[in-house]
């Protein structure tokens, strides 16, 4: 029972990251109907940015989060403006596929050139501190990360629901023609959206550094999981992505507990395929 509860908590804490990654991917997909294949690499860039801020200025990794968010937003906005927006006009999905996959390769190999392949960590005084809640032990860095994740998820949700810009983002994603009719500047919304999506990935990366190793391909598994989260939670749905992320985290730790940690990737992907097939069958039956 103790172990089961512990696994639940661990799954929840990890799931929060998948949620955040999935939400970033989903904001981008909702607005532009493109899959951002370099989303995982953006997480990795967020990790290295945090690492550099820590090395150069001695900043605590959690203090780096707002700075990383701003820098990543700027990077995302720049990429959108100079690369993605011009390619959107061609209406060819393959162009954007190659563009974002290529960007991902460029970023991970760039990191390899600059930082080498060594695994790096950011040591903190509280890295080994545990919070004990009855039968469950929670490592302090994971707990802080999770709380920040939740706050950011809620903030994103409120931003999209209440602010004028958030409403404009939803308007463009629901009906681009209607958005043009009412005078929404679609290109500006694209820049903001990609900036926000990238910033979310960067924040996830920054929050991971408290307890995770930093290496050039660290983002890949998170990038893949973000895609699973998006598909399972529903394309374009922010709450869907949130719950699908938590579900994925729980599934992983349950598999690790009851089967074997080495099978967790296998079972995650098998579950993903099963969900896709079942969903397709339901859609076919409805027709």
């Amino acid at each position: 029972m103790d172990i089961f509860l512990q696994a639940c908590v661990n799954g929840l804490l990890m799931g929060g990251f998948y949620s955040l990654m999935g939400m970033g991917q989903n904001v981008i997909f909702g607005v532009m109907k493109i899959v951002n294949f370099c989303h995982g690499e953006m997480l990795m860039v967020g990790m290295y940015l945090t690492y550099m801020l820590n090395q150069v200025f001695g900043m605590d990794p959690y203090l780096c989060v707002p700075f990383v968010a701003i820098i990543m937003f700027g990077l995302g906005a720049l990429i959108q403006h100079t690369l993605i927006t011009p390619s959107l006009g061609t209406k060819s999905f393959t162009n954007l596929l190659f563009l974002t996959v290529g960007l991902g390769l460029l970023l991970s190999n760039g990191a390899l050139v600059i930082f080498g392949s060594a695994y790096r960590t950011i040591p903190t005084s509280y890295a080994r501190t545990n919070i004990s809640l009855g039968m469950v032990n929670i490592p302090l860095p994971r707990l802080i990360s999770f709380l920040v994740l939740i706050v950011i998820s809620i903030a994103l949700f409120i931003f999209l629901k209440k602010s004028t810009t958030g409403k404009q983002i939803r308007a463009v994603s629901q009906n681009p023609v209607g958005a043009e009719v009412v005078g929404i500047n679609t290109k500006k919304i694209y820049v903001l959206t990609y900036g926000i999506g990238t910033a979310l990935a960067g924040i996830a990366g920054s929050l991971l550094t408290g307890f995770y190793t930093i290496y050039p391909t660290a983002g890949a598994s998170f990038g893949f999981r973000a895609l699973i989260v998006v598909v399972v939670g529903g394309l374009g749905s922010i709450p869907g992505a949130f719950f699908a992320g938590i579900f994925l985290g729980l599934l992983e730790t349950m598999v690790a507990l009851f089967v074997s940690p080495s099978y967790s990737d296998l079972i995650v992907f098998v579950t993903f395929i099963v969900i896709l097939v079942v969903r397709q069958l339901i859609i076919l039956r409805r027709k």
Binding site: K167, Q174, N175, V177, G178, V181, V182, G183, I184
Partner: protein
């Protein structure tokens, strides 16, 4: 107020509109009539900057808007209720109306304009918290008109407001359009396939055939025209 001369437009290499000339003055209701595929919606898109005309001028209050962006044209006071309504189905009625306020001026006047819009369409006020996609077709059309009114138009373009709606709802919407023209001095460009209803509401009309203006005249003249009777009214 609006004077269009020699307007040509199309999509890529395919030209649809050929040398369209027409005008509309303040507070006037002008109908643009034509069957499916005559080029009516292409004309609306060219007037509102959603496609770029290849030739001609669109003079609005003395300024040529032919090569301007859709946003700029909107700022100048030409607001459209597009074909197919194009509302935001997963947003509430109120949020849809908020989206109609596109700049500082319209945002500042939003509460006041919202009140007027609700007076014109009381059903929308009852349903303000409901998702727009759950409204009936007629209510969605009302929402699209109300959203355009929030943008404080000087010239309102209604593209096929009758599409897929019950006749009495079409009458309601056309009634609001003529109210706006008579009382608030807003010009209305009514683009319609339903010629009987359009001519009953409009002061004047133009008939488009194959991308050209084939006929023009007052509503009475067009209703009495032999060609119109034969081709459109089935008399």
């Amino acid at each position: 107020m609006l004077k269009v001369q020699g307007l040509r437009a199309g999509y890529g290499a395919i030209n649809i509109l050929w040398d369209i000339d027409f005008q509309i003055s303040e507070g006037e209701i002008v109908a643009i009539l034509g069957s499916n595929g005559a080029g009516k919606t292409t004309m609306v898109r060219a007037l509102t900057g959603m496609i770029r005309p290849s030739a001609g001028t669109v003079e609005f209050n003395g300024e040529d808007l032919a090569k301007k962006s859709s946003r700029y044209i909107l700022e100048k006071g030409i607001v459209q209720v597009p074909e197919g309504r194009q509302i935001f189905t997963e947003m509430t009625v109120l949020e849809n109306l908020e989206m109609g306020a596109f700049n500082k001026k319209t945002r500042e006047a939003f509460q006041e304009n919202l009140k007027t819009a609700y007076q014109r369409f009381p059903r929308l006020e009852e349903r303000s918290r409901q998702a727009a996609g759950t409204l009936s077709g007629g209510e969605q059309q009302m929402l699209a008109v109300a959203r355009a009114l929030i943008g404080m138009p000087q010239l309102l373009i209604l593209d096929e407001p009758s599409l897929g709606l019950a006749p009495n709802i079409v009458d309601d919407i056309l009634q609001v359009a003529s109210d706006m023209a008579r009382k608030d001095n807003i010009s209305v460009l009514l683009v319609e396939q339903d010629i009987t209803k359009a001519l009953a509401c409009a002061d004047r009309g133009y008939v488009i055939e194959n991308g050209r203006i084939a006929l023009e005249g007052s509503s009475a003249e067009l209703s009495a025209n032999e060609h119109v009777k034969k081709a459109y009214l089935g008399i």
